[in-house]
């Protein structure tokens, strides 16, 4: 017969062992299990996490951002990738994207969004917008300090706040950004090759047609092209 209560003491021995070990176990002493997010609001914006013990990885995602290809202080809107096709707006599961297209003075669609709002309080960081965008224009940011004092405007992120450069994207998600760039370059090359092939084919067809016309003209030299078909006045 087992001593009543021995199970409890066994359990307590485990607790005691854990307590003592927490002072000596390297893993536990220097590596807390609950970690802080890397970005503090006092850190400079656009900066990579400096802390070593962070959970933020190069894949962490929190909120979308819009990409542009500009460098330095160039106007990001000049190279914004988004063409306001509104696919992401339609596909976003909680419907938190709002886009309005930009028109020039003549009322012509210039393929840029004039309004691109995402509601932080609704977005669920699901990345569906990133996956459906055919223009690689929207990707996930891993900034986690998004709390705000302004209940209404502060939670609605506007286009200009969403715009981030491709360089920034490369800094926070290097592998993914590289993969995306490579794929874009490949697709562009393929498209150009296709275009070139199509152009060449067109040119060849045109040349062939010209040759044929010349042959025809040579075969019937006596026919005056204007005379038989001339329409009466």
């Amino acid at each position: 017969m087992k001593l009543l209560g021995s199970g409890i003491f066994k359990g307590m021995a485990v607790t005691l062992e854990n307590f003592v070990r927490s002072y000596f176990d390297r893993d536990r002493k220097h590596h807390l299990f609950t970690k802080e997010y890397a970005w503090k609001s006092d850190a400079p914006a656009d900066q990579l996490p400096a802390r070593a013990d962070t959970t933020v990885t190069t894949r962490s995602r929190n909120f979308p951002m819009l990409l542009h290809d500009g460098k330095g202080s160039e106007d990001p809107m000049a190279s914004i990738r988004c063409v306001a096709c509104q696919i992401c707006e339609r596909e976003c599961p909680p419907q938190c994207i709002f886009i309005e297209k930009e028109y020039d003075a003549n009322g012509k669609f210039v393929k840029r969004p004039v309004i691109f709002d995402i509601d932080i309080s609704v977005c669920m960081s699901c990345q569906i917008c990133v996956e459906v965008c055919p223009f690689d224009a929207i990707v996930m940011n891993s900034e986690f300090e998004l709390s705000n004092n302004d209940r209404f405007n502060g939670l609605l992120v506007r286009r200009d706040a969403l715009l981030k450069s491709n360089d920034y994207y490369h800094r926070i998600h290097p592998e993914e950004a590289q993969e995306r760039d490579d794929r874009m370059a490949r697709e562009k090359a393929e498209k150009e090759a296709k275009q070139a092939a199509a152009d060449a084919a067109k040119k060849k067809a045109a040349e062939l047609a010209a040759e044929k016309a010349a042959e025809l003209a040579a075969a019937k030299p006596k026919v005056d092209p204007a005379a038989p078909t001339a329409t009466p006045q």
Binding site: L4, G5, S6, G7, I8, K10, G11, A13, V14, T15, N18, F33, T34, T55, T57, T58, R59, S60, R61, E91, C92, P93, M124, S125, C126, Q127, I128, E131, V132, M140, E175, E176
Partner: protein, 384 residues
């Protein structure tokens, strides 16, 4: 003073609904009771401390998941499945992907199959560690076991974040594969975790499994017989704790589960203690599967040639997996458009919860809390 005419008696007889049960105390536990794991209410009628009637009331967390899914494309519902049972987003993803893959025939590459198994089994570890922690918390072992369990869970969630970008709402599975491959070194980190996990299980068992208080509180409490479990449609660890050998990983062998050797632990008594121990044993079996999967995983792509626009022909399908809580199924009716005509979830938690009254009647109110904890519910899934 006005002399109003006396109100005429109604033409029917008024009966107080508790007239027949005079002397009983009606207690409404929840919806914000810490032991109900979310917003769930139990209407309990007590005779002294003994439960005489119990009515589960749910629906507080209803989010219209099914109807929402009928209004959006197939892919857009995937992130919502994460939020069904927010402890096992990967298993939910898999069930939905499995159903959708039956609609259009997209082969899943070999590496993706292995990664799916790895993710699903890691999810099972996450779920069961949390469950035993919360269960012991309900028993009154406040804090210590829960935090030991969460320490391990934390490491797995870190792995999930490294792979999918999010700790809990992974949204990682796609129709025909996975969203992306795991990063370099991830498999080695997972191997290290799997290698160290039995040590935690040993420690945890030593900590509590022989504890006399736990034995006294859980043995012979909330007994569910095998026949009753089958009749009520109970699935998962709860069914197996009652001694019924039914595990979809064996029965359906979906994915590539037929390639792994593992056992299905079964309980004998069907009481709370069995339900608790069965989870401890299942974790050990999950580790076995993980070891084999991590040993055999091949290189290669993780995404098949899925169509860019998911537009299946009209069909009806049902895909189900053994989620850590039981049989999780998705029933889809496609009508040839990009949106499902009908989207139905069979949530294991909800169906396992239906026997709550049978388990609780005759036990004290404190035991009702323990029994509820042993069922393992997540209200996100119960209410959808």
């Amino acid at each position: 003073m006005s002399t109003a005419a006396p109100i005429a008696a109604p033409p029917y007889k008024l009966v107080r609904h508790d007239e027949a049960e005079a002397g009983l105390l009606e207690v409404s536990m929840g919806p914000h009771h810490p032991s109900t794991h979310g917003v769930f209410r139990m209407d309990v009628k007590l005779d002294g401390e003994t439960v005489v009637r119990l009515k589960p009331v749910f629906g507080y967390l209803h989010r219209n998941h099914e109807k929402l899914a009928e209004g959006m494309s197939y892919l857009s519902s995937m992130p919502f499945t994460d939020r069904l049972d927010y402890f096992n987003s990967m298993a939910n993803n898999w069930a939905y992907a499995l159903a959708a893959e039956k609609l259009v025939d997209v082969p899943v590459p070999e590496r993706a199959q292995y990664l799916r198994v790895i993710m699903a089994e890691l999810t099972r570890l996450v779920n069961h560690t949390s469950l035993v922690g919360f269960f012991l918390n309900d028993l009154g072992a406040l804090g210590t076991p829960l935090l030991y369990a969460f320490r391990e869970r934390e490491r797995i969630l870190d792995l999930f974040e490294q792979a999918s970008g999010a700790r809990m709402m992974c949204n990682y599975f796609r129709f025909g594969g996975l969203r992306c491959d795991v990063p370099a070194g991830w498999l080695d980190r997972t191997r290290a975790l799997v290698g160290g996990f039995p040590k935690f299980l040993d420690e945890f068992e030593k900590l509590l499994c022989e504890n006399e208080i736990i034995l006294a509180r859980t043995q012979h409490v909330g007994v569910l017989s095998g026949a009753q479990a089958i009749n009520a449609g109970i699935t998962g660890p709860m069914l197996r704790a009652s001694g019924v050998n039914y595990d979809l990983r064996k029965v359906d062998a979906y994915g590539i589960y037929d390639r792994f050797s593992f056992r299905v632990p079964l309980g004998a008594a069907g009481d709370c203690y069995d339900r608790f121990m069965i989870r401890m044993l299942e974790m050990r079996e999950s580790l076995k599967i993980l070891e084999q999967a991590l040993r055999d995983i091949p290189e290669g792509p993780v995404m098949g040639n899925a169509p860019r626009v998911f537009k299946p022909a009209a069909a009806e399908v049902y895909g189900r997996v053994e989620s850590p809580k039981g049989e999780l199924g998705f029933y889809l009716i496609a009508d040839g458009t990009t949106k499902p005509y009908r989207y139905r979830v069979r949530p294991p938690s909800l169906i396992n919860l239906t026997v709550l009254e049978d388990l609780c009647v005759g036990h004290s109110i404190a035991d009702a809390v323990v029994i509820l904890g042993s069922i393992d519910i997540v209200l996100g899934e119960v209410d959808r």
